[in-house]
Symmetry: D3
Subunit: 128 residues, 6 copies
Amino acid sequence: MNDQKRHEYALNKLGQIDSEAAKKLIDSMQDISPDLARYAIDFPFGEIFTRPGLDLKSRELINVAALTALGNAVTQLKFHINGALNVGCTRTEITETIIQMAIYSGFPSALNGMMAAKEVFKMQDSED
Amino acid sequence: MNDQKRHEYALNKLGQIDSEAAKKLIDSMQDISPDLARYAIDFPFGEIFTRPGLDLKSRELINVAALTALGNAVTQLKFHINGALNVGCTRTEITETIIQMAIYSGFPSALNGMMAAKEVFKMQDSED
Amino acid sequence: MNDQKRHEYALNKLGQIDSEAAKKLIDSMQDISPDLARYAIDFPFGEIFTRPGLDLKSRELINVAALTALGNAVTQLKFHINGALNVGCTRTEITETIIQMAIYSGFPSALNGMMAAKEVFKMQDSED
Amino acid sequence: MNDQKRHEYALNKLGQIDSEAAKKLIDSMQDISPDLARYAIDFPFGEIFTRPGLDLKSRELINVAALTALGNAVTQLKFHINGALNVGCTRTEITETIIQMAIYSGFPSALNGMMAAKEVFKMQDSED
Amino acid sequence: MNDQKRHEYALNKLGQIDSEAAKKLIDSMQDISPDLARYAIDFPFGEIFTRPGLDLKSRELINVAALTALGNAVTQLKFHINGALNVGCTRTEITETIIQMAIYSGFPSALNGMMAAKEVFKMQDSED
Amino acid sequence: MNDQKRHEYALNKLGQIDSEAAKKLIDSMQDISPDLARYAIDFPFGEIFTRPGLDLKSRELINVAALTALGNAVTQLKFHINGALNVGCTRTEITETIIQMAIYSGFPSALNGMMAAKEVFKMQDSED
């Protein structure tokens, strides 16, 4: 695979998760580090998310889990909560994932993750 | 629900994941803090894992994700890799989950998670 | 103990720490995950904080320490700084706890913890 | 205060916590970075632990809490569990501190902290 | 060295990195914990940054790296991005440092670090 | 750039840092996840380390800083301490980097990082 092909795969996969995400990411990095935007699109979505062996819904749930547990990247957590919904996860699957993190990374991480979910759900509701 | 009921539910659920886990955990805490063993069994497995809305396979995959990402609890990570296999996750679903963590918590966490998976898979192979 | 009893114990204990906390937590989770609010009240305050062997002042100081060190849950840190004051810790005990974290989790975590304390102290002063 | 005075205060304070700790730390850093050993003795024990406003028992309990929660420095955690006992904390105060961390940093961190306590208690028993 | 001498060295060194930093830090801690401000100035800048063996530019780049990787102290990260520029690091050296953290602590930490850099660069541009 | 080209660049760059590292990494992942080994070689060393704008010595020092601060990947920390020496960093630059982390992530992380450096230096001495 060459870089151009990977980038196309990445944009296509990312489009399934959030159709405006690539544009937003590229815009935010435009005048500081376009290369980081490119890496952050091409490696995750062009290499990893396109792999067989784990469906896209599961891939998004494990992201919600990991980012809730780490607890220091709320922007990315909201992005993947939104993405999880877009690829077909139910709101219940997402809130169950976040509740379960109370066991592994503590109640504060779960409560903060749930506040992020609340904002994303509200945003989606207001768009309907 | 009363405490005794919750404990029974927890032992039953934990038995589906790893039939010897409850005994091992109780033994390890026997002479230091039996109460912590009890909490660590009853709350996760009696309250959370018995909830509807997310199947047991997904619950174990998100644990593998979170513990790989946190990177500081290898004993528990191995327990849940083993548990994931026991509840029907494929080895590929587990390794895909771990690979994906490279994106969110970095390559060292993914490589260390994979070494944990390697040990668990080898142990299961030697038991066959 | 049954769930209802635990919940009563929890509300009572939580009331000693912050009389409006239970209501605020339940409200914030109302339309997203009332169950997480229930767990976040019942397990910590109905099971753990009611245990003998460590007084409530010490329990709150070690929370301030842990949340300052972890550095990724400022809402919960402020709650427990406020709670520490309410159960009888002095401002000095709290600031000494936070200063000491500079040793174990670095100066940034201590400085950010102190800014949280500053806000809580100011809020309490304005209420007097 | 000058450096020599601070070092004397530090050695004296550290001697109250663990009479061989200073020697062990200095020895371990001897051929790699004696300066780091000096900083790791003088700043914590010469500046912070000698401050009024928080008693030595509380200072050691909050260290046990923070190091259990952080979960990535087991050597230092054991040192402070041992130190907590030496300055008069009961075993129960220590195990209660560790149990409580399950709430704030998750069960794996609490279980691993408890295993550290188990080893320290056993070591102290074998010395009697 | 005595405390007064260390403080003078610290203020001098800190002045090379950010001429207003000491004042801002002291002001922010004024009515809550002047001692923490003093420690946060004297130990880092009076003891460590004045050591030979590593030039000031490298010292600032490794701070940018560590604070980007830890991901939970954005105020301090911005301070050291600004400081890195002030002691002669290029914008490219800073953005390369942040990009590289994607490997070790994941893409979210690198993207958030880059947003911090973007704000600092913009602030410096508006001052010109 | 196509994948094969990137892999060649990566092996070449990694060879400058540690001539046996690629082989060891590939071997360790051989029977569990060869793809992760490939990603862990190609993205870091084929994309990032080959970028202009930051010299290889600085790239290795910032890795030592970040991995010392994170404190949960000692294998990778030792690899980059060894790599830092191989690309021309002095032992002093490495120990200064580690000492400085005491400020940002606490003394335990710095002491544990220094123990890693001690082992690597000893290993290099025994090979001479």
